[in-house]
C-alpha cells in the first residue's frame, strides 16, 4: 500500500488539481485520492514543474476541497488488469466491473498507454472480412486488421449499421472455423444510456453478448474517464488479439465525444488551442488510439477497429473527422440525403473508401473481377451525380439518351444495390453479380474502367441472364 504523502491541495480547477512540495513524482504516474466519507478516486500526473505537480482526476473533482483531500502516489503508470475472463463482462470507463459481479482475477497488468507497434513486426492486412453489406463489401471492403471508421451524424443509423456488421461479419472463418477465437470489444464514450442499452439488447438478441467485453463511459460519466476508456479497451483488445490469438473487432463510439473531452481537459490546463479550440496534439492523441490496430507476424490474431464518430453539423472538415481520416485506413461515410430517401444503409459511396481494399480483393480473396467492377461502379455513380445536377437545371426530359440511362442506373444503384434489410446478408458473389446486373443498364462502350476481357466474360453473361 502506498504511503500517505500529502494532505491538502494547492488548487482545484475543473478536472485538475495542483499540489506543491512534492518530491519523487513521476510523469504519467497514477495517484490515489482519498476524500472523507467517499470512495477513493484515481488521478494521473500530467505536468511536473519543480516541486509542483498537476494531476488529472478521473472521477471528477466535485467535493474536493483544499483541506479534506489526501494523495497517495503509487509509483506506476495506469495499468489495466487483463484476463480472458473479461469476455462477457461489463466495465466502466476506468475498468471497474459494473455488472454486479466481482472484480476479475488479473493474469497480468499492462500500461494502458501501450507502446507503438514496430512497423517491422506488422504483417500487411490482406484477409477480407465479409460483412454481408453490399456497399461495404464491394466498394469499401473491410480487411482484418484494418481501422475503418464510420463518419456519421446525429440522427443517422450508424448504431444499426455497427450492430449489423458485428452480427454478420465472417471474421472468424479461420482454418478451424471455430467461433471461439472471435470477440468484440465495445467501448462507449459519452454515449446516451439508451444507446448503450440498444447495443446490449442487440448483442444479446443475436447471441454475441457472451463474446463481448464492454467498457461504458456514458454521457453523464466523468470526462477524464472518457480519455481512459478507449485505452483500457484497446489494451484489452491487444492482449486478446496478440497474446491470446483471437480475432478482435473493436467498436469505439463516439470518437467526437472523446475528442471533445480531450479539448475540455486541454482548456482547463490552459493550453494554447488550435483549430476549433482542439489542442495541437489532437492528431498525435488520436493516432495513439487508431494505430493500435493491425496484424502481427508473431500472432495469428487480429485487431480490427470500427470507430464511429458523429460529424458536428455533418461537416467532414471538422477537426475530428478530418484528423481521423488522415490516420485511419479509409472511412465509411453515411449520408443524410440517402437516409431521407429511406435507403438503409445510407452509405455515401463516393467519399467512402477502404485503403487496404486493393490488396485484399480479387483473385484468391474475393473474385478476379472485383477491382475493375468496383472502379467502374464508382466512376458510373460519379457520373450519375453530374447528370443529376444537370437534370436539376434543364429537367430530366431534356437529357441526352445516354444521360437518361445514367439516371436509371443511379436509381437502380440506390434502390437495389445499396438498400438492404437489417438482417439481410449478401455473400460477396451475390453482391458482385448484382453489381454486374446494374452495369448492364449502361451500354458496353461506356464501361471504360474494365479490362476488355473481363467485360466480355461478365457483361454479356449478365445481360443475357437479365434478358432471359
Amino acid at each position: 500500500m502506498a504511503i500517505i504523502r500529502h494532505i491538502g491541495l494547492q488548487a482545484v480547477n475543473g478536472p485538475l488539481i495542483a499540489l506543491s512540495n512534492v518530491k519523487d513524482a513521476a510523469f504519467d504516474e497514477v495517484v490515489e485520492i482519498e476524500v472523507e466519507n467517499e470512495e477513493n478516486r484515481q488521478g494521473r500526473i500530467v505536468h511536473i514543474a519543480g516541486d509542483k505537480v498537476i494531476i488529472e482526476v478521473f472521477e471528477g473533482t466535485s467535493n474536493l476541497s483544499l483541506k479534506n483531500t489526501k494523495i497517495h502516489f503509487t509509483g506506476k503508470p495506469l495499468m489495466a488488469p487483463l484476463s480472458t475472463e473479461m469476455i462477457g463482462r461489463v466495465f466502466n470507463g476506468s475498468c471497474k466491473p459494473i455488472d454486479g459481479l466481482k472484480e476479475i482475477f488479473a493474469e497480468k497488468y499492462v500500461d494502458i498507454n501501450g507502446s507503438a507497434i514496430n512497423p517491422i513486426a506488422r504483417s500487411y492486412p490482406r484477409n477480407f472480412i465479409e460483412t454481408g453489406i453490399s456497399s461495404i463489401d464491394s466498394l469499401s471492403t473491410l480487411i482484418r486488421g484494418q481501422k475503418l471508421p464510420i463518419f456519421s451524424e446525429a440522427g443517422l443509423p450508424h448504431n444499426k449499421l455497427a450492430v449489423q456488421i458485428v452480427n454478420q461479419a465472417k471474421i472468424a472463418d479461420t482454418v478451424d472455423g471455430a467461433k471461439d477465437n472471435f470477440c468484440v470489444v465495445f467501448a462507449a464514450m459519452g454515449i446516451k444510456n439508451d444507446v448503450a442499452d440498444y447495443f446490449k439488447a442487440k448483442f444479446e438478441e443475436s447471441g454475441v453478448l457472451k463474446r463481448v467485453v464492454m467498457f461504458l463511459n456514458l454521457s453523464n460519466d466523468p470526462i477524464i474517464e472518457r480519455i481512459l476508456t478507449p485505452r483500457f479497451a484497446l489494451t484489452t483488445a491487444e492482449y486478446l488479439a496478440f497474446e491470446k490469438n483471437m480475432h478482435v473487432l473493436v467498436i469505439l463510439t463516439d470518437m467526437t465525444a472523446y475528442a471533445e473531452a480531450v479539448r475540455e481537459i486541454s482548456s482547463s490546463k490552459g493550453e494554447i488551442p488550435g483549430r476549433k479550440g482542439f489542442p495541437g496534439y489532437l492528431y498525435s492523441d488520436l493516432a495513439q488510439i487508431y494505430e493500435r490496430a493491425g496484424v502481427l507476424k508473431s500472432s495469428s490474431g487480429s485487431l480490427t477497429q470500427i470507430p464511429i464518430l458523429t460529424m458536428p453539423n455533418g461537416d467532414i472538415t471538422n477537426p475530428v473527422p478530418d484528423l481521423t481520416g488522415y490516420i485511419t485506413e479509409g472511412q465509411i461515410v453515411l449520408s443524410k440525403e440517402l437516409n431521407k430517401k429511406g435507403i438503409y444503409p445510407p452509405v455515401s459511396v463516393l467519399p467512402s473508401l477502404s485503403r487496404l481494399m486493393k490488396d485484399g480483393i480479387g483473385e484468391g480473396y474475393t473474385r478476379h473481377d472485383h477491382k475493375d467492377l468496383a472502379n467502374q461502379l464508382f466512376a458510373c455513380y460519379a457520373k450519375v451525380e453530374e447528370v443529376r445536377s444537370l437534370a436539376s437545371v434543364i429537367g430530366e426530359e431534356e437529357l441526352s439518351a445516354i444521360d437518361k440511362r445514367y439516371m436509371e442506373f443511379g436509381r437502380a444503384f440506390e434502390q437495389i444495390f445499396l438498400t438492404q434489410k437489417l438482417n439481410e446478408s449478401r455473400s460477396i458473389k451475390q453482391t458482385l453479380d448484382l453489381g454486374w446486373s446494374l452495369l448492364t443498364i449502361l451500354p458496353k462502350e461506356e464501361l471504360d474502367r474494365i479490362d476488355p476481357s473481363l467485360l466480355d466474360e461478365f457483361y454479356d453473361k449478365s445481360k443475357s441472364k437479365i434478358n432471359a
Binding site: 518530491k23 519523487d24 500500461d111 498507454n113 514496430n118 513486426a121 500487411y124 496534439y281 485506413e329 479509409g330
Partner: protein, 584 residues
Amino acid sequence: MSNSKIFSINGPVVKVRNTKEFSMMEMVYVGKNKIIGEVISINDLETTIQVYETTSGLKKDEPVYSTKMPLFATLGPGIISGVFDGILRPLNKMEEENKNFIKVGSNIESLDTKRIYNVKITVKEGDIIKPGQVYATCEETDSITHKCMLSPFLKGGVVKKVAPDGEYSVLEDIVEIEDEEKNIVKLNMCQKWPIRRTRPVKKRLKISKPLITGQRIIDTMFPIAKGGTAAIPGGFGTGKTMTQHALAKWCDADIIIYIGCGERGNEITQVLEEFSELIDPRTKKPLTKRTVLIANTSNMPVAAREASIYTGITLAEYYRDMGYHIAIMADSTSRWAEALREISGRLEEMPAEEGFPSYLPSRLSQFYERAGYVETLSGEEGSITIIGAVSPQGSDFSEPVTQNTKRFVRCFWALDKSLAYARHYPAINWMDSYSEYDEDLKEYYDNFLGKDFLKMREKISALLAKEADLLEIVKLIGMDVLPDEEKLIINTAKVIRVGFLQQNAFHKDDSYVTLEKQKCMMEVILHFYEKAIENIDKITFVQLEESNIFSKLIKIKYETTNKDIEKFNIYLKEIDLFFNNITK
C-alpha cells in the same frame, strides 16, 4: 555523473535549471533510461530539451547527461534497404531485441557493426586526400556501390598507411592519413554528421534533366527535374501516398529515401512487402535494394517525427556526395509541421497562423533548399529531388503549410477530391497543378523526343482548358445544344482525361509508361482530333459517337506495351482509314 537534474516535465518537453553545461542543439541523454533528447533553448534560468521518446515514468531530479555533440546520424555502408525510426535507429534490430513493440531507451547503433564488406581501397600511400574524396569502396547492395569519403569535417592530408583490399567491418580502420599539423587520423568506413546541417558541395549546377517517373500526367504535363522540388497536396483519400508509392517504385533515381513521417504503420509494412517483390526495371534487382525507409509512424514520439525529415535528407546528401541521384519521398510534411506546432505549444511560444510557430516558413525553406543538382566535393554529379506530400487540414489549400510549401517548391501537383471520388488516379488536377521546370527541361525534351513533343503538350493543355470552359456552359444548358466542333472538343478532352491522364497503377502495361510511348499516345489522340476537325463539315457528331472511336482511343493504353512503338503507326493509319470511310 551529471550535475544537471530534471526540473520540469510536460509531455516531450523537459526543462533543466541552474546549469551552463549545455549548448544549443546538443544531443543529451535524459533520465535513468538514457532516452535521447536535444537542447532547443537556453536562457540564464533554464535549458529546454525536447525528448525523442515517451517521458512517461520520468521523475524530477533524474540526471541529464551531456554528449557535447549535436544530434547526428552515423553514415556508412548498411543504410540502403534498411528501415529506421526518426533518429536512425534500425527497426529490425529493435524487433530482435524488444519484439513487437518499441521500448523506451533502446540505444541501438544505426549500422550493423558485425556485417563484413568486401572493401576495395582506392588510395595508396603517399596520395594527397581532400575532404569529400573517396578512399574505399564496397558493394553495399546488389545495386549500390558504397563509397567511403573523407568527412568534410576533416582537413585532409597525406595517406600514410593503407590496409590491403579485403573483408572488413564498418568500424575497422582501413586508412591512416597525416594532416598538415602532423596529426595522424585513422579512418574506418563510417562518419558522423549532424542532421540539421547541410553537407557541403563544390557548386550547384543548373537543373537540366527530368526525373522520369513513367507517370503520364507528371512526365508530360507537369514534369519534375532531377534536383527539383515538388509538393503533392491533397485531403485524405485523394491518393497522396499512392502517388508517392508509384513515384518511389518507378522514378529513375538511383536511391529512394522514403520518409514515413507521422503516417500509418500499415503503409510502412506495405512498402516493405511490395518493394521486396517488385523488380527495378533498370537494375533488374528488387526495389528494396535501392530504398531506405524512415518510419516514424503517427503514434511514435512526436519529437522524433520532427527529426525524421532531417535524418532523411542527411542520408540523401551523403549518398548524393557519392555521385548518386536521390529522390526523397516525404510523407507527409504536414505531420512534420504539426510536430513543430505541438512542441512550440508545449514551449508556450507565441503562435502565428493557426497555432503554427512563426518559424514554420523558414524551417520549410531550409528543408526544400537542401534539394539540388550539384557537383560534389569529389567532382562528381549528384542530385537530390524532394517530393513532399502535404495533408491540408480540412482539405483546404489556403492553410499555412500548403501555402508556405507552395512558396518553396517549383512543382505543385494538386490532388483533387472529386477526381478521387470518381476513382480517377492519379487524382492530379490538371487545372490547379503546375511545374516551373518546363523551361529548364525544354532542351532535354527537344533533343530526346523531338521538338514536336512540347508542341503536342501545349495542344493537349489547350484542349483541356477549353473543355473546362465548355463544361461550365454544359452545366447550364446541356450538351445537346452545343455545335459539333465543341462536342468534339469535349469528347476529345474526355479521351485525354481517361485515356491519357488517368493511369492504372495495377495494370501491367500501364503502371509505368516510357516517354516514347507517352509521346505516341498524344500523337494518336491529336491526330484523331485534327482529322475530325478537318472533316467536321462532312460528318456529323452522332456518326463519330456511334462508331465507338472514342472508347477505342481510350483503350489504347491497355493494348500496347512500352515496346510496341510501331503499333502506334498502325493506329494512325486506322484513323486515316476511318475518316476516309466515313466521309465517302
